[in-house]
Symmetry: C2
Amino acid sequence: MRAQVVTIHDVARAAGVSPATVSRVFNGGNVTPARAQSVQEAAAALGFAPNRLARSLRKQRSSVIALIIPDIENPFFTSLARGVEDAAQRTSLSVVLCNSDEDTDKERRYLEVALGEQMAGVIVASASRDETDLGPLTARGVPVVAVDRRPRDAEVDAVRVDDRHGGEVATRHLLQAGYRRIACITGPAGASTSEERLAGYRAALHSARRDGVTADDAYVRHADFRVEGGRAAMRDLLALPEPPDAVFVANNLMTIGVLDALGEVGRTPPGVGVLSFGDVPWASLVRPSLTAVELPSYELGRTAADLLLQRMEGSGSPLQTVVLRTTLQIRESTAGPATD
Amino acid sequence: MRAQVVTIHDVARAAGVSPATVSRVFNGGNVTPARAQSVQEAAAALGFAPNRLARSLRKQRSSVIALIIPDIENPFFTSLARGVEDAAQRTSLSVVLCNSDEDTDKERRYLEVALGEQMAGVIVASASRDETDLGPLTARGVPVVAVDRRPRDAEVDAVRVDDRHGGEVATRHLLQAGYRRIACITGPAGASTSEERLAGYRAALHSARRDGVTADDAYVRHADFRVEGGRAAMRDLLALPEPPDAVFVANNLMTIGVLDALGEVGRTPPGVGVLSFGDVPWASLVRPSLTAVELPSYELGRTAADLLLQRMEGSGSPLQTVVLRTTLQIRESTAGPATD
DNA sequence: TTGAGGGATGAAATCCTTTTCAGCGGCAGG
DNA sequence: CCTGCCGCTGAAAAGGATTTCATCCCTCAA
């Protein structure tokens, strides 16, 4: 009992005009008011809804934009998504979210979909720095903005935070609080965010290496930006002959795992210092409260969307990279080392 | 410098065959192996990627399914989304996520997009019980599954949890723990989940009304399923001449707000009992640990996707509603009232 | 009065695939 | 040897909108 599909032709017939005129009514062409009205009425009476596929096919461009994120279960990215949506809200564009799950294959599939569906634009927080290929999109003239993470060599606008600086400030804070054996649990080697946060950590340690601070990479671990990865890495660090007395964790979810692992062995902050890059969700409920590098996730999304919209309107301005500031929020978890 | 678009015609010409044959190669028609191979090679050489719009237009059905959820910042829904994705993963379908933000207008827009883009199917956790109109989709024969929330009168398959029963069990637990003035903070009046969880609460109180238990609606509040709403509602309850000694909160995010509001006035569980319908994210870090009705969010999504796929394969079976069980996880926050 | 200019309109081309249909050739069975 | 069937193939239609182009008609200026 499938309802018959109402096309522009049906409306045209009902209103006694040509399909071209109907199209013009809906797209702002020149039509005499009387005719326009009768078209409107006919469309309403028939329950006409334009076929977006046909329209996009003809126009060579659809009216949805894709937002591709690597982890939908990370509040950082969902907040970013809200930023994108709110910015798109003011236009007639719809945003669809694609979860690449930190998997370059899935990501590639979604990029193919975006291309094949002629999406109006793409915002991507790429799963991998090297394997993400935005070439086909940019070659076809589809506006693309990289957000948070930066694919190598890509000729696209970008919005990110000052990862390296943030990591450096964070680590320096731990030093100043008196910690001396500071570990770093960072993300997968492929991601730009992992590498830069780690670079900041190294820089801070390097410039403090006189005062008995360990500055080799014995305390560095790579994990997967997820809770389990953080937990495993922390367990590994705790098993060292001389475990660290503080840890700089390169993302929020891994920090959850780290806190769990510490709880297991009865050690809690600030005895062991814990500093998270990115706020832990519902930080207000965590005890002790957590020192964190706060990220402007919402603004990241919002700015990316603005850049994309601007580019879609055909701004010919040169490619730009916007870097947003992070802020260190000092709380209880880094109050200073336990005095043995 | 937009790259020329490679169409099936270009491939056909390069391979010395007709477009129809190229299409058959990609869609599993009958083609002699030799020819098929030369088509494959030509396609690869030209970097051919099929235009999904044209394909969908012709087939009257695209290969993406839409998942419409009311709050992308709620871990419950993101976990549900993972369930949907994992189920769809085994097919060639892509999932796109749409965030209606508990806003019936946004939701309507996304439903229009789903219809206009001829999406292969739709899974929806509807923003409103009454205003969500799935009619156009079902009329056109698009498979639809309602998940978590149930739109009224809709002729669709559904997957949800035993909200009413869960609410009743939860409230009964609070009674058994010794609480006597039990409040309920539920969601917006329009949502089925709000109403049924509240109904469970009422049922439990009703059957216990002999033992000095307050059972009118003085302790019932409607909020918006968000953190702020929970906070406001709890403040309101605390301002009563005789504040409640326990509260049953109908979703996880509102519970965060409730805990915040309690913290502000220096009252903590279990002195005031707190029971959350739906786990709070990263519950392991919350002190005291939180008693909650645990929801099978992932399975909800997974089951909904399975139902949808089954329906898309043309199963003519009658409409079904799958109800999944909730489980009460008893922890510290409901250990018993403060003894004044 | 005539020509230029311009707004409104419809026919038809266009976007790119899929799918129907008819034709062709080969093979097996009568 | 003929018929029927089947597999492979290409031409062309179909899907539903937008857009170009030509036409018509009207107004205004010379």
